[in-house]
């Protein structure tokens, strides 16, 4: 149970390694349908990375089933 299989390498053990992060970012940009290239894409990646802890905190927050989204 748990942990990567033997020989899977460092990237499999650390899901936030740079290459994985870039792949995750690229997938999100593609899913959003954004056509962003060059310097803009690099800057967006930097901003996305910087903001990641906030987003992870949001996703990690425990929410009870009865907590509905209506304002």
């Amino acid at each position: 149970m748990g942990g990567p299989p033997p020989g899977a390498g460092l990237s499999a053990m650390t899901p936030d390694a740079p290459a994985d992060l870039r792949a995750r970012f690229d997938a999100e940009v593609a899913a959003a349908g954004l056509a962003v290239t060059g310097r803009d894409r690099d800057l967006l990646f930097a901003m996305w990375q910087e903001h990641l802890p906030q987003r992870e905190a949001l996703r990690a927050a425990a929410v009870a089933p009865e907590e509905e989204p209506w304002p």
């Binding site: 803009d40 967006l44 910087e50 903001h51 906030q54 929410v63 989204p69 209506w70």
Partner: protein, 474 residues
């Protein structure tokens, strides 16, 4: 502040101008010309204005004088020169939003708040600088620079209602309107030593005002005193069928109860989240704690309170960038080069908010509302320092962050739509203004203004003026 021998137009607050006009010690044309002359002399450095409406202002001033000469004075704004953030429509006057995207945009109709100000007899002097689309960053270059802080022109006034704060603080008009989606009224008010009031959501119509995030946008006054803010709020509050979020509740008298003081008021101090935050500047903290002691001496009961979900409020707020992206989607596709780089990248961040994250944010927003409503059931208002630190030098400000950490002092209160006012509470050793913030129950704008006034009337901070002799560039 009343007119006395040696007083210049730059010394007066809105109340002082209004009183002088009512007593016919000065005409609206004279006071308008005085402000126009002051703008011509100083705005080359301060850059508060994008458009100066000289001819229209003088025409309205003449009309106000004629009307008063016939015995009709519409109220405290009659003949008083004010100015508007350049995202509030004035018919026939360019409205840029501080953006190259809108350089040719001339609204055909007044915004609701513009109509209200005209109906109150106000004279609109012009349209004020702002951060691009209300979410850009300070800028000294390009067609739409965002203004310089009159307390130190090497520092930014903060934003996005930067020009509104600069113009009010520097005496380039008697009062201004700004807008606030994450702190854009209260932040620059704090940095420039003026009063900034974000009204209850829906109290002031957004129709005719460029949107940033529909569900978080508020329009409100930025002035030199609490009385000034109350007078402007009185003119602009009220139901507007053209704004689907406009409240139908009757508008109370905001000036009538201002002097009732703080005796018997229960204040909740959000100490853990705000006062104990390691990022809070020591001088801002000391001034705020001293201010809460003043309110206690004035008869308020101050107790520590907490709302644990405040910790997640900035993350929740950032999900509302999705609204911003939706508003800009077509413009961003058609002409992305017309945004400043930092603005464009932040805009794209809004496209990366997933539906699941947006709904999670809404659920947490509701939880925060419940926690704060519980606090406000036993407190009349919440208080805390009005900002994380004093005004920053332009070169210290990052143009590439989703939101500054200091936005924790303002953005949660946009999520909840509660009335919030910043009032000056002192100066740092370097001479930069600091403030406290007071947040009340929905619809109880009169209470937060009353508490702000209770503090203001026993302090002198709001009477200090920046020195025009320092408005020079090296």
């Amino acid at each position: 502040m009343a007119v006395t021998a040696g007083t210049t137009i730059g010394d007066l607050d809105l109340a002082g101008v209004s009183e002088a006009l009512a007593a016919r010690r000065i005409s609206s044309v004279e006071v308008t010309e005085a402000y126009l002359e002051r703008i011509a002399r100083h705005d080359g450095v301060l850059r508060a204005y994008i458009t100066v409406m000289r001819d229209d202002a003088l025409a309205r001033a003449r009309a106000a004088d004629l009307e008063q000469g016939r015995g009709t004075r519409r109220g405290p704004l009659h003949g008083v020169p004010i100015a508007l953030k350049d995202l509030i429509a004035v018919a026939g006057v360019p409205m840029t939003g501080g953006s190259e995207q809108l350089t040719d945009h001339v609204p055909a109709r007044d915004a609701f708040v513009t109509e209200r100000l005209h109906a109150a007899g106000a004279v609109i002097l012009g349209k004020l600088a702002m951060h691009e689309w209300a979410f850009g960053r300070p800028a000294l270059d390009g067609r739409f620079p965002t203004g310089r802080n009159p307390w130190d022109v090497t520092r930014a006034p903060a934003g996005s209602s930067s020009g509104s704060a600069v113009a009010a603080a520097a005496g380039l008009c008697a009062g201004t309107l700004g807008s606030d989606t994450g702190g854009s009224i209260r932040g620059p008010a704090a940095m420039c030593g003026i009063v900034g009031h974000k009204p209850t959501y829906g109290l002031v119509s957004r129709s005719g005002v460029l949107a940033m995030d529909w569900s978080l946008d508020h329009v409100g006054p930025m002035t030199r005193s609490v009385w000034d803010a109350a007078a402007m709020l009185q003119a602009i509050a009220g139901h507007d069928p053209a704004d689907p979020t406009s409240l139908r509740a009757p508008v109370p008298d905001y000036l009538g109860g201002l002097e009732r003081g703080a005796r018997g008021i229960r204040l909740g101090l959000l100490r853990r989240y705000y006062v104990d935050w390691p990022g809070l500047d020591a001088e801002v903290k000391a001034a705020a704690l001293a201010a809460f002691d003043v309110l206690a001496r004035e008869g308020a009961a101050v107790q520590d309170v907490d709302a644990p979900t405040l910790d997640l409020a900035p993350a929740v707020w950032s999900c509302f960038l999705a609204e911003m992206f939706e508003y800009h989607r077509e413009m961003a596709r058609r002409a992305p080069e017309k945004y400043r780089e930092g603005t464009r990248i932040r805009l794209y961040m809004g496209a990366l908010v997933s539906a699941q994250d947006f709904l999670r944010a809404q659920r947490l927003r509701r939880r925060l509302r419940h926690e704060v409503d519980t606090l406000l059931a036993r407190c009349d208002a919440l208080v805390f320092p009005g900002q994380a630190g004093p005004a920053m030098r332009f070169e210290e400000i990052s143009s590439l962050e989703v939101m500054a950490p200091s936005s924790r002092y303002t953005s949660p209160w946009n999520l909840l739509g509660l009335p919030a006012v910043n009032v000056p509470s002192g100066f740092t050793r370097a001479g930069l203004p600091v403030s406290i913030q007071i947040v009340g129950r929905a619809g109880e704008d009169a209470t937060v203004l009353r508490i702000a006034r209770a503090y203001e009337r026993v302090t002198e901070w709001h009477r200090r003026r920046p020195d025009p002799a320092t408005w020079r560039l090296a």
